[in-house]
């Protein structure tokens, strides 16, 4: 992603969250062994978390002087961010993926078939017969490849 003079929508908020996250990591690192020894189990994690905090501060510092994204308040910025980066297509596909993972323990092949058909139907806006045929073909390929060629445990 190219650096531009204009901030991306939500970039400042994201960087603040990164800093907060880094501070949280630093607290967790401190909880390992505190400052008990320079050679303790927590010494390197503390160092790594300090680097994260410093880098997050530097990223925030770099945002200075850049033009704010054109938005009217937090709600509008959140709406713009969602529209640009989490459009319905991404959200629905992610939701389908979560449902797929949640149902996988019933039957790997049935849930995979369902996921493939539904996501292809959604992403290609229809074409049921071809989605069914392609999903069936892919399932056959997965079966042949993973049970015969690779011999891996399937969920």
């Amino acid at each position: 992603m190219k650096k531009t003079d204009t901030l991306l929508v939500g970039e400042r908020t994201f960087c603040v969250l990164l800093l907060a996250f880094s501070l949280g990591i630093a607290v967790l690192a401190y909880q390992i062994a505190g400052f008990s020894s320079i050679n303790s189990a927590g010494a390197f994690p503390l160092g790594a978390s300090a680097v994260m905090v410093l880098a997050a501060l530097s990223i925030l510092f770099d945002l200075r002087g850049r033009t704010r994204a054109d938005s009217n308040g937090w709600l509008d910025a959140a709406r713009q961010f969602t529209r640009a980066h989490f459009p319905p297509r991404t959200l629905i596909f992610t939701a389908l993926a979560i449902i797929y993972l949640a149902t996988i323990h019933f039957s790997f092949y049935a849930s995979t078939f369902g996921f493939l058909v539904l996501s292809m139907l959604y992403l290609r806006r229809g074409r049921l017969v071809s989605a069914l045929a392609i999903a069936a073909l892919l399932i056959l390929m997965i079966y042949l490849m993973f049970t015969l060629a690779f011999s891996v445990y399937l969920p």
Partner: protein, 503 residues
Amino acid sequence: MSETFSYLLMAWSDPNLMLLTALGTFAGIYIGAIPGLSVTMAVSILVSFTFAWDVNDALALIVGIFIGGVYGGSRSAILLNIPGAPSSVATAFDGYPLAQQGEAGRAIGLSTVMSVIGGLIGTLVLASAAPVIGDLALRFAPRDYFLVAAIGLLLVGSLSEGSLAKGIFAAALGAVIGLVGMDPVTAQGRFTMGQTELMGGIHYVVLMIGLFGVAEALYQLHNLDSPVVRQKVDKILPSVAMVLKFLPLSIRTSLIGVIVGVLPGVGGDIAALMAYDHAKRTVKNPTQPFGKGAYEGLVAPETANSAAVGGAYVPMLTLGMPGDAVTAVIIGALVVHGLNPGPMLMVENPHIFWFTVGNLALANIFLLVFGLMGIKLFAKIVELPKAILIPLILVLCVVGTYSVNSSMTEVFWMLGFGVLGYVLKIFGFQMGPIILGAILGPLMDTSYRQAMSSVGDNPVELFGELLSSPLSLILTSAMLLILLSNTPLLGWLKGRLRPASSN
């Protein structure tokens, strides 16, 4: 000597290994040619499938995919102006203008031959340099390992696209993820938040599949509707005179590729861009102006990114440090197979080293054959609909992650890392430093503690050793130089020195 020779020819003489190398190379070209399917993604997923295999079989397939994938990226760069892999970004600069002028076939043919030349030079350097570096590495103290790993992380942070701060943040985040779990020395939990499931740590293949597979798949959802561009592909074989004309440049850019590839953490993408820049600066009379279809602009990045493959194996096999993201995954594969990449690998398991060298050479030969034979066929594959590809990638990610430890919790982790990677990508963070951090972080932790123990936990004494040991001093200076070059301090120093020297 005869043993070395037999290891070297192992892949050439065993039909099974030969077939797997050929299959890997063929599949790699396909995978590399499809925009959105990266070679790192393919190798990450594949490694988890080959855990149950014999190590030679697994390595043969992975080497083929690696070589084929790096080259395959140039296909879509030339035909569609969409680099199939980050290492093919520079290829598109002149490759696509050539395709627009009806020279797509010749451009692909030349890029194939040049990739093979680069790949073979990279392999040759690996064969000759790695044993020397391996011997040197046996003299490395733990502090030197710490320094080399730190240099790797700094390099990947500073040379990758985006800001240094973002690169360093990503590397440190990776290190923290790599440290999750039980401390191997004190058995204390680190970053586990009291969860016993996390005591075993987060397998970095899980992280890798999430970041390179799912994150990329989510990102590609934005390009679902991009129109398919078809190019006329003919006049494939480049003439001998043409190859000879570009041979001196290809040798120079191959060497750039190998050197960049050898640096821990930096791979073909940086090598290709540096080689392109070199060609631009040194070629006085290109066939056409650079950026408008100069063959030199195609030759330079293609030789460099292929040569970087051999280079990337050098730190991996001699120091146990990944030369780039793909070799990071290969380290995982070697560890799973009970091998320990590092200086002792060359001593304990020399057959793995020589087998890899022979296999890389073989994969390059297959590349030449498949590359020149299947150009028209491969031109078709870049048109594969993403609406079919993306759900399939997700299924492969799920199967790949599950096969690591047969754990559905890890599959959910993988999906979580995918979404995290997607968000980080939106704000310009690179995925490579996170992976390298996850691998090098625990290694740095161990080296740091060993170094500290060796001086009785006395930081002043450790500092003294950093200055008194020539090797440590060189590494410390290199690290400081990289740090300095990324801060305004170096510019300020230059500014101060220039007027002083001109006076």
